[in-house]
């Protein structure tokens, strides 16, 4: 799984997982992380399809979903741009963070750890810097 | 797109096509050698004929004996027009053309006919020019000989035109059968057609009259009342064989 750079975006495509979701997730997190800035121009469907060697329809579907999210907007004749609304990106980032945290907590639960254990570990980590005590 | 213009464009394409990718690997050198050999053979023929002429033994009409090989050439051309699609690995393209199978077969047939006609007419023209040249240069040849030669040439041309259609179609069918469900019958067809041709040429001897001359035999065949019906039958048979070839490539391909 190699990393591919398309303009400001970086992709890691794993062909053993559904592609549409990967493109969507990776673009969304790039926007949330600010790897591609507000109002910046997105690579065109064609560029992305060519670089990733993918069916343009798959890329197109992902782009349409991004527009539905409100994360991108299509400017007629000019292509697709990241939204200029910082609020939108912020609220999306919050949603994404929530999802990551939920997933993390689910994983911890599956290890048999509860919130107190996790909290204690995190505090220790922040206090001790590197080399904190492990759980 | 189903217009006659497209059909004639197909004929043009078939007429101009030459070579196959397998053969195009031959270097310029071997092509040069091929040309040299052909020139040598032609030169030998011309020299021999001229020698015979100089000694006064040549009857111009005898130059047409070369035409005895023509039927085989026609068969070969008909066969080759089809076979080369397989030799060139372009049979997929040819067969996938969105036109009736009869178009495919007949277009190749017409192109083959044009090629055969070109060769034969070229030969006739060269032979006539040669005859004129000899008559001008050598004293014992008269213009009457040239006129007679023209008449005989006319007879031969009529004969060749008559046999050409059926032979082209036979050649095509031989090639087509090899690639279709008729494959097992293919060797039988070869025997039938070549054997048939051999027999007919033998029959030609039956037409030799009192003077034992092939020339007058040809004249008799072509002038007789049976000639026109025979030619018509030949065209009909050619049409049937062409239809059969078209049917086989349409429904019975064995790829």
């Amino acid at each position: 799984m190699t990393e591919q750079k398309v303009g400001p975006l970086r992709f890691r495509i794993d062909f053993s997982q559904p592609l549409y979701e990967q493109i969507l997730d990776q673009v969304r997190s790039a926007i949330a992380k600010g790897e591609i800035g507000l109002g910046e121009k997105m690579p065109s469907v064609r560029e992305l399809a060519q670089e990733l060697r993918m069916n343009p329809n798959t890329v197109m579907r992902a782009y349409m979903e991004l527009e539905r999210d409100g994360l991108t907007e299509k400017r007629r004749g000019q292509g697709t741009y990241v939204t200029a609304s910082a609020d939108r990106v912020r609220s999306f980032r919050a949603q994404l963070a929530e999802r990551y945290i939920d997933s993390f907590l689910a994983q911890m639960e599956s290890l048999g750890l509860n919130w107190e254990d996790v909290e204690a570990y995190v505090r220790r980590k922040r206090g001790a810097g590197e080399g904190g005590e492990s759980l | 797109m189903i217009r006659s213009r497209t059909f004639w464009a197909l004929v043009r394409h078939e007429y101009r096509m030459k070579g196959s990718w397998r053969k195009s690997g031959r270097s310029a050198l071997s092509k040069w050698w091929g040309a040299v050999y052909l020139t040598l053979i032609a030169a030998a023929l011309i020299t021999a004929t001229t020698y015979v002429a100089v000694n006064g033994w040549l009857q111009f009409e005898e130059m047409w004996y070369l035409a005895l090989g023509a039927p085989y050439m026609m068969l070969f051309v008909g066969h080759g027009m089809i076979k080369r699609e397989w030799e060139n690995d372009s049979y997929g393209w040819w067969l996938a053309l969105p036109y009736p199978r009869t178009w495919l077969v007949v277009a190749k047939w017409i192109a083959g006919w044009l090629r055969v006609a070109t060769v034969i007419v070229a030969f006739a023209v060269l032979a006539i020019l040669y005859a004129v040249l000899i008559t001008v240069c050598l004293p014992h040849y008269k213009w009457a000989d040239v006129v007679r030669f023209l008449e005989v040439s006319g007879d031969w041309l009529a004969l060749l035109v008559g046999v050409c259609p059926i032979l082209l179609s036979m050649g095509q069918l031989l090639a087509v059968s090899a690639f279709t469900a008729a494959r097992p019958v293919s060797p039988l067809l070869w025997v039938l057609f070549l054997g048939g041709m051999g027999m007919l040429q033998g029959q030609l001897g039956g037409w030799l009259g009192e003077d034992g001359q092939l020339v007058s035999a040809v004249d008799r065949i072509v002038s007789g009342w049976q000639w026109i019906p025979a030619v018509a039958a030949g065209w009909l048979a050619a049409g049937c064989l062409a239809w059969l070839s078209a049917y086989l490539i349409g429904k019975k391909l064995d790829l």
Binding site: I13, D14, F15, S16, Q17, P18, L19, Y20, V45, R46, A49, Q50, L52, R53, M54, N55, P56, N57, T58 | M1, T6, A9, L10, H13, R16, M17, K18, G19, S20, W21, S24, N88, D89, S90, Y91, G92, W93, L95, A96, L97, P98, Y99, P100, R101, G250, K251, K252, L253, D254, L255
Partner: protein, 237 residues
């Protein structure tokens, strides 16, 4: 749900004792890029030939646009035959002339644009080209056409890496903005995994898996992995 554009119903085709197609059941949906995948000899080419009306099934039936395949249905199909070569004495420009004359829907401008993009010299004779260049030119003959179905039988076989990349790039460019059904067969998955959104996996004349490629990925992993899993025996040879 639109009608499938090509259907095979229990199609069997024999060559002597060998079964090229063995009760093949496939319905190709319209507007998708369909990968016909499988090892050599699994019947991919026979599938294409049957859809192009070149061979007739011994049993079962094949329907293209709801009709029996033949030269009439081929007006709307661009077919790149397996391992096909071209007439060596023609130049690329003459080849495009041929396309204009004989292939319905052929777009000369599009062809010339693609030729420039794929670095094919229009005045060069096909006979003087490398296999890869010839393959690119023949691909253009198929995709520079405005037809509902394009069938490419092993377009990558025996082609050098550079031409392969050029062909893939050409295909992706062509696919944008088009609702065309494209069938591509290959026995080599490298670099083309992402192209297909519908997959038909074949083995010994039958379809062993058909469906959305994404679903195949979710169930089994990458097409590459699927190949290894399903065609294990192939590798042992």
């Amino acid at each position: 749900m639109t009608e499938p554009v090509i259907t095979f119903e229990r199609v069997t085709k024999r060559y002597g004792k060998k079964l090229a197609l063995d009760g093949l059941d496939v319905a190709i949906p319209a507007g998708r890029i369909v990968g016909i995948l499988g090892p050599n000899g699994c019947g991919k080419s026979s599938l294409f030939r049957a859809a192009a009306g070149l061979i007739r099934p011994d049993e079962g039936n094949v329907r293209v646009f709801g009709r029996e395949p033949g030269w009439q249905t081929n007006r709307d199909i661009a077919y790149l035959p397996d391992r096909a070569r071209w007439y060596p004495n023609l130049t690329v420009a003459q080849t495009f002339d041929w396309g204009q004359t004989f292939l319905p829907g052929f777009d000369r401008e599009d062809a010339e644009r693609l030729a420039a993009a794929m670095e094919i010299d229009p005045d060069m004779k096909i006979g003087g080209m490398s296999r890869g260049q010839e393959a690119r030119a023949l691909l253009i003959l198929c995709i520079a056409r405005d037809v509902p179905v394009v069938m490419l039988d092993e377009p990558f076989a025996g082609i050098d890496v550079v031409s392969r990349e050029a062909i893939i790039a050409g295909l992706i460019e062509h696919l944008e903005d088009r609702s065309q059904t494209m069938l591509i067969s290959t026995h080599d998955i490298r670099e083309v995994e992402g192209l297909f959104d519908y997959t038909v996996m074949m083995d010994r004349g039958r379809a062993i898996w058909t469906g959305d490629t994404e679903r195949l990925r979710a169930e089994y992993g990458s097409l590459h992995d699927v190949f290894r899993l399903l065609y294990r025996k192939e590798w042992k040879r």
